[in-house]
Symmetry: C5
Subunit: 361 residues, 5 copies
């Protein structure tokens, strides 16, 4: 299990066509989830969901003239992917981008349809990142996700409600609704990161601990993953809302500009958090320096006071014989011991006074 | 109370529509202040203020043909917001942006009116940040603020004065006056931050203390908040003063260019302060390093002088029996003790000379 | 006095109109110097200077049809400023920018004249920064400076010389001469900073001292002030030399491009010095680290050699009674003491050899 | 051997024409590999490979009207290079760029053909970097590589397969296939770097070791080499896919946009890895600081506890004679020793309590 | 002599016209080299060089209708410079830029000719930097250098060869040849810096020494000087190869694009080296931290083992009288000494085991 968690955390998906393969080559990925198809047939007054649809069912539904949402989950079955590609006349380069889950967010326009790639999170953890591809033409929408489970339940709910705009407006509006929902799911995830950062801020301010730096590094990594997902998504949304692609009517462009605004907000948050994280590392390091300083001061004060005193005790512990009156006469004085102790106390007090003047105490 | 202060300090407002909600969804925020409306009816020769206006009063005033400033304070009452939206035919996406206090400063132009979002401070503390939304058409101005209390008292005063330009010129000039006042309030706030930075500079130069780094981090955070408010505001002002939006006549554009100049000045100040703060952290760290060095030198000097001397005292404190003439004959010499002390003094003087040559003293 | 020096060093002038004041409000600044006017009446064959001109004198000179340079020094007398504004029909926003000495360098074009704002230094110290505003139309030039004393003496000298181009060419050329002189005065000031930086470089390379970091921080601050003056000045000069403002004939644009070149050179120098200062801080910190290392090595070597030896001396100084032959028989050996000393010497030599192999010596 | 590895690792190839040589000068490089030519004659239904082709064979094949791929390996034989240059009418500046293996990736268009320069890696190690030049016109493709061995085996395989698009489409498609394969080989190489980085991350998090920093520095260096290869390659691919060069038909431009996408992905990976490496250095340094702190604490605790105790033992080890009752009477008390031991234990316990309160334990 | 080397190393030349001087003022620089003129008369079939030409000789040569290269070395003789200026009708601003050796690389076009300024190095050391100005019109080329000695020998050699293109093509091609040669001389200089950097890299990796940081700082400074020379040179070359200046025919633009490519390569190298230098500083600092850690560990281990043992030896060295059976009975035990030694060995072994578990050994 831990191996799997680790592979998810990798920045770069290892799945890609071999070096030098001709364009359009699909390559089996042994870690891919098994492929399942969820078909939603949409008309203005009715919505029908088929949980595990077959190719034949899709073909039949296409002929009914209704609008379809084909949601493909798991990319293990390359033959099925190719068959879907054939059914919706998907270009081979587009299909390769769908299967190789290594893409940056982007929009590619082909003759008859457009392909959108974004990174989807489950709204909780950055580790849940998966590639989400949307292929749509004037009527149908085909989506491809890496694993079961997504953040699109609200969209499905809105589809089921009779009066939803999402049913009556065309495929482009539906694509907008999906994109908007995927980007919306970035907010709670970033809030979690923000909460952790502010928690770390408290901890580092009060009592810095090495484990905080590890956590900080982890959060910076996660912000890097989100940043890599967001910057190209912004470009993509800008291109989509600006350009007259033929497939996106201007009234949907109006909504996409709102989604674009959200992407800008998200980028703003990510950059703020990254700057905050950098500030926290500085705070930690200066705090460690300060603590080290404090520790060293204690050591230095204790050593500086007692080392000279111990030296004196050592002197008077020497065994020079009293045969000669030159040898350690002080040991034989009447008040030798009290005088010695007094000297020691004076030295200690003097040093303490010095330290206080140096503001070490 | 301290909990509330903390929630204000968060970079990102937690208030937003749930993931995947349809566009235009308004969501109740339990922390929102209760909604109140302050109505100002403006005509060239008379200004009437109603402190707690009802919807009906606004509707009636609209029909009088006079120009209105509807100032909505607190966003808790979503029904009231929707009713105001209906009254002034505000688009649902605009209303969502007004209610979700998570927006970056921006200007959005709709068919009949424009929506401006800025961040307002009370001129004293960065913690007072709130979203301020201005919706205006050719005649009326509707403003929405998160909490009671703002920095717009001077605008109200100017309205009350009979000869003010602010009465006679149209809604766009009035919007300019509000924007200019809000941005003006950034200046005293930044001056406070600047004073604290220069105070910290003094302290760190003279006697650096760990608490200074915490304060520095806090100031950097506050500057980050102001930066996030100012950069998009600059873009917004540039777009407003440049573009022919139809709603902003060129003579107001001329004044807006002055406000734009102020925004540039503010950004310049923020960037300067951020650079200063970075320099102060460097200063602190190098100061801590230097202090540590000084502490270590004291420890090393004391240890290096007394450790060898103590060793000698230990030697002559050994109990080898004098039965053999090989055993510690020096203890029995006539001048053994004075010679021993002399040797010790010579060693100490020699080491002090070495330290002086190494410039450690 | 020291308080005044301090207020000068502040990055941001505290003088501005109160928050929300109507545009064009002039506000008295109690720290402003008293206002004086120096009038220069220029014709091709004669130049007349009046040291302390009255408003009436200016008005009379204006009617003579000759070209004027009205040099206003000190901005305390707001009424006089307004009167001059009325005389030369200066827009109220322009007058506000002149009086509020908080402006970034810029050029604003109005219907009949243009306003240029730059930062002027006395060519020696960054602390001498003051705002210098130039207002000119096709004939006259009005300049406003914060304090008596400037770097324009060379311009006045050139005016007095009979054959100077500066007399015969129009107001735009005269403005160019002023701007060029003000920017020229940046060079000696930056050279001073450069000399100090190279002096610091020498010191830090040879014998780093904490006071060097303080000085470095000070120089970085000064470079920040100069940078803030230069970057917008470059934009301003670029706009002036490029644009056909109507007021600047193309042959003066040709000279302004030379001034623009100087601004670029100055920015290049500032950026180089800033990078050098950053490098010096790195040098200082690595030097402190290295010194600390050296100090620690000395402590460690001394301690590591003498602590075990002292331990041995302590062992042989114990008072186990010789009643039992098991108790410290070595003390009673014939060669006990020489053997003990030999063991100690061997240990010391062995440790020294180890340290040499670790390259600590 | 190690010397050779070292010279490869140099950032800048030392091979270039002498200073001031006329343009087009070819200079012998003694380290260059011997030149060999591999000729591939391509027609739609047949592909013929000649492993060690002579000039004459190339000339003959050219006359046959078939399309050629002349793959020159090793740049030692300048005469042969010139002869090939003459055969394909290569401009002298282009030939100089081919022979001087110091070029940044670029595309240069000449009257009749285009020259592309990229950096090729073997897909495993950054040290394998070599300059790869592609010269092509409407029919033929001539490639120049520095050393035998490349990553183009998949292209050769695809050529040998009867049904490959690569045979039937023109020279531009063939150039695309080569470029795409070369860029594809960056992926496994970067994956290796990524694996090492994540391995280092584990190590530094658990148990940082100085050798990790050396490895980190090495990886940063390698990323710098890849960055220098990729950024200009992106520009080149953008120019090629955008521009109508006449030589690149739009359907190949469509494929090149895919290769351009790969370049962007690669740059994204490189930048992410560079940022990760920077984060790891921070992690290492803060970890070393923390460890130092821990070590210092142990030293300080041990010293602070035992130094005062040893001092007391030293006191009671002094030899003041008991002749005077003032001299060390405690040594003669009945419970002197137990009391002394108790005092020592109390001091130790007290200090431990203090350290616990300071959270040092 | 060392003073002279120092003044060369200054970033900013101190030579410039006084503040406020009228445009075109030439100022005597006491450090300038004496002026000498080298005249080269070029015709397609003959080249004549005059080592120390007089003004009259130049004037005569001009009348002969042949093309001239007037190479002025040393800028001390301002009168001579002015005379040359008059001879070739050089604008006064251009002449000022030539004499004030403080210019950034640039190209200025005047009515009849163009002025190019670059920084020239001797190909070995960054300290050899001097300003090199090229003034040319359709026929003649006048160059100004600060000191005798340059890197243009190869150009002179090519001029002397009968068949050289450099003779027959016009002045623009000749200017290209000079520029190309000057930029080519950057390569060996940067290679020297690169060699030193890689040498430092080896040293710092193996055995870091404080002197390495000083050298690193020096190299960064040198790279800063080269950077300041190269960035504006790139702009200049781009402007020259792009623009139709009238003076530069398109076939020379084709060659200049090659020189522009070289400038880009050089900038790429400089940036790479700067990044490498930054990485080396990090490596040094982390290496110093690590070494300090190691030193501290040794100190701590030795102290922590021997301080408690010495304490025990001190205890048993106390002089409590055996009159009371409570006083140090262990000293009188039969196996007291062996037991004491055993206890000490056990403590030492126990501590060593602890250190091993903490991975300090």
């Amino acid at each position: 299990m831990s191996g799997k968690t680790k592979s998810k955390a990798k920045f770069v998906s290892r799945h890609r066509a071999p070096v030098g393969a001709p364009p359009g080559t699909l390559v089996h990925d042994e870690r891919a989830s098994p492929t399942g198809i969820r078909l939603t047939v949409i008309s203005n007054d009715h919505v029908e969901e088929v949980a595990d649809a077959s190719l034949a069912a899709i073909e039949k539904a296409m002929k009914s003239g209704k609008r379809l949402w084909v949601d493909v989950t798991g990319l293990a079955d390359l033959e099925l992917l190719s068959a879907i590609g054939a059914l919706f006349s998907i270009e081979e380069l587009a299909l390769e981008d769908i299967a190789n889950t290594n893409q940056r967010p982007k929009v590619d326009t082909y003759e008859k349809h457009a392909l959108i790639v974004v990174h989807m999170f489950d709204g909780k953890s950055v580790d849940s990142k998966e590639q989400f591809a949307i292929l749509f033409d004037g009527r149908h929408v085909v989506t491809f996700q890496e694993r079961p489970g997504d953040c699109l339940e609200p969209v499905r709910k809105r589809l089921r409600q009779p009066a939803g705009r999402i049913r009556t407006r065309g495929a482009a509006y539906f694509v907008y609704a999906i994109l908007d929902t995927i980007l919306d799911a970035y907010f709670p995830m970033l809030e979690t990161i923000g909460d952790e950062l502010e928690d770390l801020e408290d901890k580092i301010t009060k009592d810095p601990h090495p484990r905080d730096v590890g956590r900080l590094h982890q959060l910076k990594r996660e912000l890097l993953v989100v940043k890599r997902a967001l910057w190209p998504a912004r470009e993509m949304l800008s291109a989509m809302s600006r350009e007259e692609l033929g497939l996106i009517p201007s009234e949907v462009g109006y909504f996409l500009r709102d989604t674009y605004d959200h992407a800008i907000q998200l980028i703003d948050i990510v950059e703020t958090y990254r700057e905050l994280a950098t500030g926290l590392l500085d705070l930690y390091l200066s705090s460690v320096s300060t603590k080290m300083n404090e520790v060293m001061k204690v050591l230095t004060i204790i050593s500086t006071i007692f080392i000279p005193l111990s030296f004196l005790a050592g002197i008077w512990g020497m065994n020079f014989t009293p045969d000669s009156s030159w040898n350690m006469p002080e040991l034989r004085w009447r008040y030798g011991y009290p005088v010695a102790l007094t000297i020691m106390v004076l030295i200690a007090v003097g040093l303490l006074y010095l330290f206080r003047r140096k503001r070490w105490l």
